[in-house]
């Protein structure tokens, strides 16, 4: 098993699983914080911004790494339509994990909010103050978040189909031990 060439590298796997945990946490924090007006709301919001910034940085590193380190090939017997779905959904996942923090940062800029990451760091605005732009981006942030979560569910379901039903090594290429 350890000599299989068709596995993700340790770097790719570390990035994948770290970001999986961060993104899932982020989506739960996001929908949780807007559902409550208890003191949990500002607490979650204070976590939401720095984790979002961290995801943006990691996503850009990961995209750069991925462009230089192609993914292992999919099984030869996988139907063409499933291969297309696999590739399409992965690039969609990349696009979303980069777009979500940028939408969040832009919408807070458009709404005139200081984007505070820590006690000592406030990010500068990246778009001008504009209430109509804020309204559009704020709505987009929610819609894209739900789409992102749906995409992750599909990704998870597909990974489990590879693991439990097809047993074709695709799941192990990211999850397997040595």
């Amino acid at each position: 098993m350890s000599t299989r060439p068709d596995r993700f590298s340790p770097v790719a796997r570390t990035l994948h699983w770290t970001m999986a945990a961060l993104i899932l946490a982020m989506l739960f924090i996001g929908v949780g914080m807007v559902s409550t007006a208890e003191p949990l709301y500002p607490t979650l919001l204070a976590w939401h911004r720095p984790i979002g910034a961290l995801i943006l940085v990691l996503a850009l590193i990961r995209l750069g790494y991925r462009l230089h380190h192609p993914a292992p090939p999919l099984p030869a017997d996988l139907p063409a339509v499933q291969k297309l779905a696999a590739h399409g959904s992965h690039w969609l996942l990349y696009a979303t994990m980069i777009a979500m923090p940028l939408i969040g940062w832009s919408m807070q800029s458009a709404g005139g909010y200081p984007v505070r990451l820590t006690t000592w760091l406030v990010l500068p605005p990246i778009v001008p103050r504009d209430i109509l732009l804020y309204g559009f981006l704020r709505s987009a942030h929610t819609v894209v978040a739900y789409c992102f979560f749906a995409l992750i569910l599909v990704h998870l379901a597909a990974a489990l189909v590879h693991a439990l039903i097809r047993r074709d090594g695709v799941f192990e290429s990211m999850a397997g031990g040595r």
Partner: protein, 359 residues
């Protein structure tokens, strides 16, 4: 890996995958509040304001009628001993403020026994801001989000009498002596004759953190240098519709208006978690500087309309207290902001009056 044997049925595995994915989706919806309609978020608080006052698309859901003001804050340096926030270092920072009256009617008359409010945004170095939205009353009618919603429902004005249903209000007040105490206070407390002569209170307690990391419970108030009388509450409804805002515009044209920022320090045992409870008057007061407002501009061009005066936008050195109302205010302002941003803003009463040549 060996391929699975053809005789093996895939359906138990499919079922397992369905359950796993379904449980994750269910957890997500539960956290998002979809499975718990009674949970109160900013949206529900904004709904309660719309229920009470009717919907005014494009406008703030509360404190709807307002006027932008600009100026600066001159810190005298005395606040440095209390908080490491840069705003308290001796010097001057620009301020963008907003005067408003309570209520949700963008064109309502100023002559009502309601909140006179001042919101301020201090623009600090390194991208920091301090925002505070204050009322002319040192206490608030409710202590938490659930009570706020209950009060909005109970006090919804009847379309004919324009007064709340007495039975509903009586039932609510029987459960909420703190709201009754607030109404009693409003009935007897003077209503300042001008925005310029009002004292504006922080409503909630906060915490100041000094350079040594020591934390103190505080409230603050802006005390006017301009002295003036009170409104005659019996003749309020005979006042011109925009008289408070017109008065402020006229005063600022004559010269800058000043308030002293006074920090009030809690004693041990003072409630920091309940905005309906006033602190005793003998608490230590520290004058930390002067707010100077020298320009008033209608909302349409004044820059104060398209932001929220979220009381939790705080600089390093000022932190929230354990008052649950702070989070509720922050969440409500955010929900109101999202709604009015999507709906799009409209020209405000003061801009329209100026354009109509009524001044």
């Amino acid at each position: 890996m060996p391929p699975s044997s053809p005789s093996r049925s895939p359906w138990p595995a499919f079922a397992l995958i369905g359950v796993a994915v379904g449980l994750l989706a269910l957890a997500f919806l539960w956290v998002a509040g979809w499975l718990q309609p009674s949970r109160i978020g900013g949206g529900k608080l904004a709904d309660s304001l719309e229920y009470n006052a009717g919907k005014h698309p494009g406008w703030r859901r509360a404190h709807t009628k307002g006027l932008c003001v600009t100026g600066h804050f001159d810190s005298n340096g005395a606040g440095v001993a209390l908080s490491k926030a840069s705003v308290f270092r001796a010097g001057s920072v620009p301020v963008l403020g907003r005067f408003s009256t309570g209520g949700s009617d963008p064109f309502g008359p100023d002559g009502r026994p309601t909140f006179h409010s001042l919101a301020l945004a201090f623009h600090l170095p390194r991208g920091e801001e301090w925002r505070t939205a204050m009322d002319h009353t040192p206490i608030f009618p409710v202590a938490n989000a659930a009570d706020f919603v209950a009060l909005q429902i109970a006090s919804k004005p009847d379309p004919v009498t324009h007064k709340p249903d007495p039975a509903k209000m009586k039932a609510y007040l029987a459960q909420h002596p703190e709201t009754q105490a607030f109404l009693d206070y409003m009935a007897t407390a003077p209503l300042p004759a001008s925005f310029a002569t009002g004292t504006y209170y922080s409503i909630n307690a906060f915490r100041f953190i000094d350079g040594n990391g020591q934390s103190r419970a505080v409230r603050w108030q802006f005390e006017p240098e301009t002295k003036g009388g009170d409104l005659d509450k019996k003749t309020l409804d005979q006042q011109p519709v925009d008289f408070l805002f017109d008065d402020l515009i006229a005063r600022v044209k004559r010269g800058p208006l000043r308030w002293h920022l006074v920090i009030v320090l809690a004693d041990a045992g003072d409630r920091t978690d309940n905005a309906t409870v006033a602190w005793p008057a003998n608490r230590r007061h520290v004058d930390v500087g002067t707010l100077v407002l020298d320009r008033a501009t209608p909302e349409e061009t004044g820059g104060c309309r398209d932001i929220t005066y979220d009381p939790l936008v705080l600089p390093n050195g000022i932190a929230p207290s354990d008052d649950p109302l702070l989070a509720a205010r922050s969440a409500t302002y955010a929900a109101s902001f999202h709604r009015r941003a999507v709906e799009g803003p409209h020209p405000d009463a003061i801009s329209l009056a100026a354009k109509g040549g009524q001044k």
